[in-house]
């Protein structure tokens, strides 16, 4: 059976070799044409160094969000990809590029621009702590803008993400301090007034009622001071966190290579090979389909094994095709054949 299939496939090919190879050659030509005539592409890239083990970070243990089996570069790369999946991030990045006018278009245009942005940006990890952000377009300036916008938006997002919490806390405690201070002042003033009105007796102790009132005023002042002190401490903590976070972000994410406007079109041998392999694969697939289809649809008898397998009768002869043999006319007198017979003599 295998032999029959192989024979039929080969026959299907050799019967019309040019026709069978046509899709392959065509795909090859289209591939070459595609590569030659496709617009030049410009690559811009920038590199961010991710240092999670900064001094401040290690002291404050603020970077515990990264698991030990994921490198900082991988974590950052994943985070950028996740952010690229969000419309908000992409939208704020597009704001910094020349794609911004497209945002005024319809929903389809916006969606296509978002998709274009997402497909154009690629994030690669280079080692454990280096992240490369690349953009390849047919416009060198746009490539540059897209990389810059992605990096800036990411870093701003990182800062804003922790800033917001610290600022809110600081603001909250700041607002508490003033009323608490007023409370303290009021309690102190009440105590002073009481002591002025009721000075310490020259001899003996204060009457019990007076002493009780004094104790109350002193306790109220202590409570107010304690509350004020706590609010001030919290406000200081929030302020420290803000400073610490800014410092942490600056130390953690350092832009090592600033993106530049590419001056020359990118020729990627990998891309060239990839494109050619794709077209060759398509050509091979089409040619193979043609050959296979031809063999599959051919329900005629072509080989002795066809007759034996398909009909179950012996093949007597495989008479080859031949054009008319031109033999000069001979005498038409019958010739007596005197040859030994193969027929068994009965």
């Amino acid at each position: 059976m295998v032999r029959l299939i192989v024979l039929r496939l080969l026959e299907s090919f050799f019967r019309r070799p040019l026709f069978s190879l046509a899709p392959f050659v065509l795909a090859l030509l289209i591939g070459v044409g595609y590569i030659l005539f496709s617009p030049p592409e410009y690559l811009s890239s920038g590199k961010i160094y991710v240092e999670k083990e900064s001094l401040l970070a290690s002291l404050t243990s603020s970077n515990s969000d990264v698991s030990w089996w994921v490198t900082p570069a991988q974590a950052t790369s994943n985070e950028i990809y996740e952010l690229l999946a969000t419309n908000t991030f992409v939208r704020s990045a597009i704001q910094q590029t020349k794609l911004e006018p497209l945002m005024a278009g319809g929903p389809d245009v916006v969606w296509e621009t978002f998709t274009f942005f997402r497909e154009t940006i690629s994030v690669n990890t280079l080692g454990d702590k280096l992240v490369e952000i690349r953009a390849t377009t047919d416009d060198p300036e746009l490539s540059y803008q897209m990389v810059v916008a992605t990096m800036d938006t990411y870093l701003k997002w990182k800062m804003n993400n922790d800033f917001q919490e610290s600022i809110a806390a600081q603001k909250f405690f700041e607002e508490l301090i003033a009323p608490y201070q007023a409370d303290v002042d009021a309690a102190r003033q009440a105590l002073i007034d009481f002591l002025s009105a009721n000075p310490e007796p020259v001899r003996g102790e204060r009457p019990p009622g007076e002493q009780f009132q004094l104790d109350q005023l002193q306790a109220a002042l202590a409570r107010a001071e304690e509350r004020l002190s706590a609010a001030q401490e919290n406000e200081e903590s929030a302020r420290l966190a803000l400073v610490k976070n800014e410092s942490l972000i600056r130390q953690t994410y350092q832009i090592i290579d600033q993106p530049e406007i590419p001056l020359r079109a990118e020729f990627s041998i990998t891309g060239f090979i990839r494109n050619m392999v794709i077209f060759v694969a398509i050509g091979v697939f089409l040619s193979a389909s043609l050959i296979g289809g031809g063999a599959l649809l051919d329900r005629s008898l072509r080989f002795p094994v066809d007759v034996q397998n398909g009909l179950g009768v012996p093949l007597l002869a495989l008479v080859p095709f031949s054009k008319e043999v031109s033999v000069p006319a001979s005498t038409t007198a019958p010739v007596e054949a005197e040859q030994p017979s193969l027929q068994p003599q009965v």
Binding site: M1, V2, R3, V6, L7, L10, E11, F13, F14, R15, D298, R299, S300, L301, R302, F303, V305, D306, V307, G310, L311, V313, P314, L315, L316, A317, L318, V319, P320, F321, S322, K323, E324, V325, S326, V327, A329, S330, T332, A333, P334, V335, E336, A337, E338, Q339, P340, S341, L342, Q343, P344
Partner: protein
């Protein structure tokens, strides 16, 4: 180590062409040596295995498979190689092709080939044949055409009307004619119309001792061949002859494919 034999060192005698020619007529046909070689192998196998009966029918599933051609080539080879008396009996009244095969049309384009063959067939003068013998309008001696091989005679179908064809195919006169031919010839090779073309074939096939089915290589669907074989299963089937074979795959590739 990798030596290939590019060409045969000499032309074998068996690959020489054979020519059949009707005595006194401008009717002749040559068969290529490669074709003769295949048919010679077939006949030799059948003779050696004693499977070649005296009445051999050649038919096909569909029209245009080359039955007349193969019948003539087989008869010429048999007569040439054995010296026996051989008669080619054409019973294809529907599309007689025996004589038109002996008067091959000039090479024309593939599209016009059938048309040219039919025009050649029409241009041949009407000649008495089996139909006339069966109707008593001609004698057997008048209709038998001698050839350049002493033992080889041709008996064309003759002409008949459509309504007479079934009668002739099933007539006792035909059986009597066959008995007469049996007495005169060692082998009678029947040229029978296509099985799926007319039911007369079933009656005609029954007159033979065994049948060979001519199938056009790479053209005739296997389903039609199976149908034809099923229809004529009432007679022994010698086998299948693949005609006009053109295997495109190079022979050296065939040798590389392991045999099962």
């Amino acid at each position: 180590m990798f030596g290939f034999r590019k060409k045969p060192t000499s032309v074998a005698e068996s690959e020489l062409p054979l020519t059949i020619e009707v005595v006194g007529e401008n009717l002749r046909r040559s068969f290529a040596g490669s074709q003769v070689d295949q048919i010679r192998r077939m006949l030799t196998d059948l003779l050696v295995e004693q499977r070649l009966p005296s009445r051999v029918g050649f038919t096909s599933a569909l029209r245009g498979e080359g039955v007349s051609y193969i019948t003539l080539a087989s008869a010429a080879t048999l007569a040439h190689d054995t010296g026996k008396r051989v008669c080619v009996l054409e019973l294809n009244w529907l599309h007689p092709g025996l004589l038109s095969n002996l008067n091959p049309p000039p090479p024309v384009s593939k599209r016009d080939r059938r048309q040219a063959a039919e025009s050649v067939s029409r241009s041949l003068p009407p000649r008495p044949g089996v139909a006339e013998v069966l109707r008593g309008q001609a004698s057997l001696a008048e209709t038998l055409l001698p050839t350049n091989y002493a033992g080889l005679f041709l008996l064309p179908a003759g002409s008949t009307t459509a309504d007479q064809r079934p009668l002739l195919a099933r007539s006792p006169e035909l059986r009597m004619l066959l008995e007469t031919l049996d007495a005169q010839f060692d082998y009678i090779l029947f040229d029978i119309p296509a099985v799926l073309e007319t039911s007369d074939t079933l009656a005609l096939v029954a007159l033979t001792s065994a049948c060979a089915l001519v199938v056009r290589h790479g053209v005739t669907p296997i389903t039609e061949v199976k149908r034809a074989l099923n229809d004529i299963k009432h007679v022994p089937i010698l086998g299948v002859i693949l005609n006009q074979a053109q295997i495109a795959t190079p022979r050296w590739i065939h040798r590389l494919i392991p045999q099962e």
